[in-house]
């Protein structure tokens, strides 16, 4: 009986064995599939080229060098309406990156807190967190963006409410911060000569904090002495820089926002559209991350918690030192896809008038130049690059915390 399972002699290849022989069959079908895919794509591409030619259109990226002619409110780099469409696209790209970055950080913070609290022994906290997760997960993010934006513009005062004798609104923190329905106006630091020294002193004090903590740890491990670290760190953080600022005669000053004409002038502006989009994306994606965190924590065997408890660790430390580091291995891979979701969902920005990549390149530029195919292809390329970069960086992090198997 054993002879039946013997492989046939290698010389027995015939044309029919491409179908009948299991060794070759899979290659045959893969080859057919490949040819079919190439043929389909060639047909679609050819069809596109033919139809574009018939309509008298051509694919050209010359429009990127032409004058844009429109203004953008939030400009991370200098931009005028006389600049090119290409530069407008870059401004949009930076705005996308800004909101994606802020959104990822905030969503992670919200998600980790909510995920941990979902497992809280406190019934009320647990239920509140599951209400949060279910509410935000199950309503489309566009609706959240619109709701948060409408609530914001309708509940905060307009700049004109700050005006005159009978002003109905007032600024906060000694007239330094104004919260309006167009955004939040904050004081802006102005750097004069000597600020560099203050900056260097500040950086040195941060280095000092790390050195001090290292020293404290060494003392603890080597000599068993417990040195307090929290208050000395706080002091190191503030005192040297403030002293340098005073000694050098206040080289860093603050420019306060002031109501002039229609709007607040001076200081920094965080626009309402950015706040609404940022907050909506963070709180929406935070709900998904909370579930990832919960899943990660529950994947850690209960024995770990009990063992840590048996060693005398308090619940907070068990979570931070034992459970979360192990849970990260489960949490990180789905977290990557949530970060990608934030980046992609940020293309809904135009709903609140935030000029991101979709608003500039895929919006006004597309409409003014009529170059839909070119603009959309470029848009795809930009988003693909951003997403792949995020995934690349996060995968490096994931590999660094992965369980090392030796």
């Amino acid at each position: 009986m054993t002879t039946i399972t013997d492989t046939p002699a290698p010389a027995s290849f015939r044309l029919s064995s491409l179908i009948n022989d299991t060794r070759y069959r899979s290659y045959t079908f893969q080859f057919i599939a490949l040819v079919a895919i190439i043929a389909t794509m060639a047909f679609i591409g050819g069809n596109l080229v033919r139809n574009l030619a018939a309509a008298g259109l051509n694919i050209s990226y010359d429009f990127l060098g032409a004058q844009a002619g429109y203004d953008i409110n939030q400009r991370p780099i200098s931009y005028e309406s006389t600049d090119t469409h290409g530069r407008a696209a870059i401004v949009g790209l930076l705005n996308t990156l800004i909101v994606a970055f802020l959104g990822c950080i905030t969503a992670t913070v919200i998600g980790v807190i909510a995920g941990v609290l979902r497992l809280s022994p406190n019934w009320l906290v647990r239920k509140l967190m599951s209400i949060y997760v279910e509410m935000f997960r199950n309503v489309p993010v566009l609706i959240w963006i619109l709701i948060i934006f409408s609530i914001m513009i309708n509940t905060t005062p307009a700049p004109r409410a700050f005006k005159g004798e009978d002003a109905t609104a007032s600024m906060w923190f000694f007239d330094s911060v104004a919260v309006t329905n167009r955004g939040v106006f904050l004081p802006k630091p102005i750097y004069e000569s000597g600020s560099l020294i203050v900056g260097i002193v500040f950086l040195l004090s941060i280095v000092g904090i790390f050195a001090f903590r290292r020293y404290a740890r060494k003392q603890l491990y080597d000599h068993g002495k417990l040195i307090p670290t929290f208050w000395p760190s706080v002091a190191l953080f503030f005192v040297p820089a403030i002293l340098a600022q005073l000694v050098l005669g206040n080289p860093i000053t603050l420019e306060y926002p002031e109501l002039k004409g229609f709007n607040f002038k001076g200081g920094m502006t965080v626009r309402g559209s950015l706040i609404a989009l940022w907050f909506a994306l963070a709180i929406y994606t935070g709900a998904f991350i909370a579930e990832n965190v919960r899943a990660g924590i529950q994947a850690i065997p209960k024995g770990q918690t009990e063992a840590a408890g048996a060693l005398g660790l308090r619940p907070g430390r068990i979570m931070n030192l034992v459970v979360l580091p192990q849970a990260l291995r489960v949490i990180i891979p789905p977290l990557i896809s949530q970060y990608l979701n934030i980046t992609k969902n940020s293309s809904l920005a135009i709903a609140v008038g935030y000029m991101d990549l979709t608003g500039t390149l895929g919006g006004i530029t597309l409409l003014q130049t009529g170059r839909a195919i070119e603009a959309v292809l470029l848009l795809m390329l930009f988003y693909l690059t951003i997403s792949l970069s995020i995934s690349f960086v996060m995968n490096i992090y994931n590999n660094s915390i992965k369980l090392k198997e030796r």
């Binding site: 794509m41 139809n51 309509a55 309406s81 307009a158 004109r160 167009r182 008038g353 919006g363 006004i364």
Partner: protein, 338 residues
Amino acid sequence: MKKSVILGAFAVAGLSAGMAAAGTLDDVKARGQLNCGVTTGVPGFAEPDANGVWQGFDVAVCRAVAAAVLSDSNAVQFVPTTGKTRFTALASGEIDMLARNTTWTFSRDVDLKFEFTGVNYYDGQGFMIPKELGVSSAKDLDGATVCIQTGTTTELNLADFFRSNNISYEPVPIETGAEAVQQYTAGACDVYTTDASALAAQRANFEDPDAHVIMPEIISKEPLGPLVRHGDNEWGDIVRWTLNALITAEELGVTSANLAELAGGTNNPEINRLLGTEGDLGGMLGLDGDWAERAIGVAGNYGEIFATNIGEETPIGLARGLNAQYTDGGLIYSPPFR
């Protein structure tokens, strides 16, 4: 990656496959229905009424064309389009014509390959501002926050206006008119800018229309008119001359009241040619002799359409102004029917 390229290519191919050039008239006749692109809702210009029937100044042009071609003013499928989707919808053949507050510009005519078939409303970009701010001229708007409907010529005019006057502003781009109004009324922007006719139309829906003023400056020329695709001149002629028929009817005093009587034949040869009792103008268009009579019969001549939808008697309350007949000092002028 590969999959998204395939899908993208499918989308692009599907989009371009619709670009069959000639024969729109035959397509419309075969379908028995005209696909007409309109706005998503601007009071007076194009908006569904309480019964869901589209009404308005732009809608009347669609209905007139449908009546001329298909003898049925209700054989129109109205396709609501936004500033963003309108050109794609027309270029792809999803709609046969676009009658949607669209400004006739060089690049749209030449580069985007559309054919503007005339002007049914001469408009210009204006500014609306709450009265309480006490601003009387657009040149005093330095530092103001301006709400703009995006995807239009508006944002380019605005940038040019503020640049040439050397004053600063903060643009707030907004997708639709309704959202712009929401932000404007909440005070999130000081000024709202779009075509002056649309400003008047939207102000009519405000709680307190008198608290808002439209400033005297008109910063651009906005000739609004219906448009079709390049490359089908027969169809373009039909849309162009249907609009001209409505205009000529007003000039010659043909109204919905006396239409039936005049169609029996008159002493005025131009009226006779227009209404098909003399000559064969309809045949030249590939239609029958009564085409113009049917078009005018839907809602009357240009002046009547203006008066019922956006005229001074309506809540929109627009004066004829530039849109009066040339004989009354306006710009509305049709080439002769000869």
